[in-house]
C-alpha cells in the first residue's frame, strides 16, 4: 500500500513539474514549490479526485504546506 505522502508527492510533482523527492512534509506550496494561489486551488481539486473526498474551502485556506494536506487527509480519510 502506498502511503498518503507518496500519493500527495506524485500529484504535486505532476502538477507543478517538480521532482517527487523535492516535495517534503515541510514544503510550503507557495514559498518552496513555486505555486501561486490558482495552483493551490487546482491542487486541492486534484487531491479531492485522488482521495475521493471533498475538502471544504475553510480547510483549503489553512493548507500552506504539504504536511498540512497530509495531516488533513490522515484525519478525514476512511
Amino acid at each position: 500500500m502506498e502511503t498518503i505522502l507518496t500519493r500527495v508527492q506524485r500529484v504535486i510533482a505532476g502538477k507543478l513539474g517538480v521532482t517527487e523527492d523535492s516535495v517534503t512534509m515541510e514544503s510550503d506550496f507557495i514559498k518552496d514549490l513555486g505555486a501561486d494561489s490558482l495552483d493551490v486551488a487546482e491542487l486541492v481539486m486534484l487531491f479531492e479526485n485522488e482521495f475521493s473526498l471533498e475538502i471544504p474551502d475553510s480547510e483549503m485556506e489553512k493548507m500552506k504546506t504539504v504536511g498540512d494536506v497530509v495531516g488533513y487527509l490522515e484525519k478525514n480519510m476512511k
Binding site: 501561486d36 490558482l38 481539486m45
Partner: protein, 248 residues
C-alpha cells in the same frame, strides 16, 4: 492557414441569430465548432449540416445554459470528443422587457439566471479545461444596455452589466494562465430578439445610430472572430461595442 485552424470553439444558444452567425464564421475560419441551444429542432439540425459542409468537426448539445449540471455534462462530452476547448462564447440570452413597476420577481430572476448564471456556469466549468491547456479565449455577449442602462430593461441591463464585471474579474483571475476574457456589447442588431420591438421603436433606434443602419449578426461575428483568434492575443478584460456608434 486560416485564423482559427486547429482551434476548438463552443457557442451557447447558437441555433439562431448572433450565435448562429458566430458558429458559421468560426467554421469558415477553420475551427471545430460545438454549439448548444435549449432544444433540438430544425434550426439546430440545419446549422449542424451547414457546419459539417464547411469541412470542420461539429457537435450540437441540447442543454439549458442556466443549469450547472447540464453544463458539466456538455463539458464531459466535449472533452471526450474534442480533447480541448480554445474558445468559449457565452451567447445564450433572453429578454423580458417591462417597466420596473410591472416587473415580477419571476421576470427578474429568470433573466438573471438565464443571462448571467449561464455565463458563470460555462466559464466555471470550461475554464478548468483552459487552465490545463494554459490558453483560451472567453467571449461574453453583453450589450450596450449593460453599459448605459435602458428604460424597460432593468432586469436585462442588470444581467448584462453583471456580465461585464464578471468578464473583467475573470480576465484578472486567469490572465496568468494565458486565458483571455472579453465582452462584446452589441447595439441594435437585427435578429428575432429585436423583431419583437415595434416599428416605431426600431425607426427611432436607427435614427440614433451614427452609421445609420442597424447591425447584422455577421457584424458581431466578425468581432467575435477577432477576439477568438490570436490577432487579439494581447487584449483582455475589454468591453468592445459593436453598435455603429450607438452608445456614444
Amino acid at each position: 492557414m486560416k485564423l482559427l485552424d486547429q482551434k476548438v470553439a463552443l457557442v451557447t444558444g447558437a441555433a439562431q441569430g448572433i450565435g448562429r452567425s458566430i458558429a458559421l464564421k468560426f467554421a469558415e475560419n477553420g475551427a471545430d465548432v460545438i454549439f448548444t441551444d435549449i432544444r433540438e429542432d430544425e434550426r439546430s439540425q440545419g446549422l449542424m449540416a451547414e457546419l459539417e459542409a464547411k469541412g470542420v468537426r461539429a457537435a450540437f448539445f441540447a442543454a439549458d445554459a442556466s443549469s450547472l449540471e447540464q453544463t458539466k455534462e456538455v463539458c464531459n462530452a466535449v472533452t471526450e470528443k474534442f480533447g480541448r476547448l480554445d474558445v468559449l462564447v457565452n451567447n445564450a440570452g433572453i429578454t423580458r422587457d417591462m417597466l420596473l413597476l410591472r416587473m415580477t420577481a419571476e421576470d427578474w430572476e429568470r433573466v438573471i439566471r438565464l443571462n448571467l448564471t449561464s455565463v458563470f456556469n460555462y466559464t466555471k466549468v470550461f475554464s478548468s479545461v483552459m487552465m490545463r491547456q494554459r490558453s483560451g479565449s472567453i467571449i461574453n455577449m453583453a450589450s450596450i444596455v449593460g453599459v448605459n442602462g435602458n428604460a424597460g430593461q432593468a432586469n436585462y441591463a442588470a444581467s448584462k452589466a453583471g456580465i461585464i464585471g464578471f468578464t473583467k474579474s475573470v480576465a484578472k483571475e486567469l490572465g496568468s494562465r494565458n486565458i483571455r476574457s472579453n465582452a462584446i456589447a452589441p447595439g441594435f442588431i437585427e435578429t428575432a430578439m429585436t423583431k419583437q420591438l415595434s416599428e416605431e421603436v426600431i425607426e427611432h433606434w436607427k435614427q440614433e445610430i451614427p452609421l445609420r443602419r442597424p447591425g447584422t449578426p455577421d457584424d458581431v461575428a466578425k468581432l467575435a472572430l477577432f477576439l477568438a483568434s490570436d490577432l487579439s492575443e494581447y487584449i483582455t478584460g475589454q468591453v468592445i461595442c459593436c453598435d455603429g456608434g450607438l452608445a456614444l
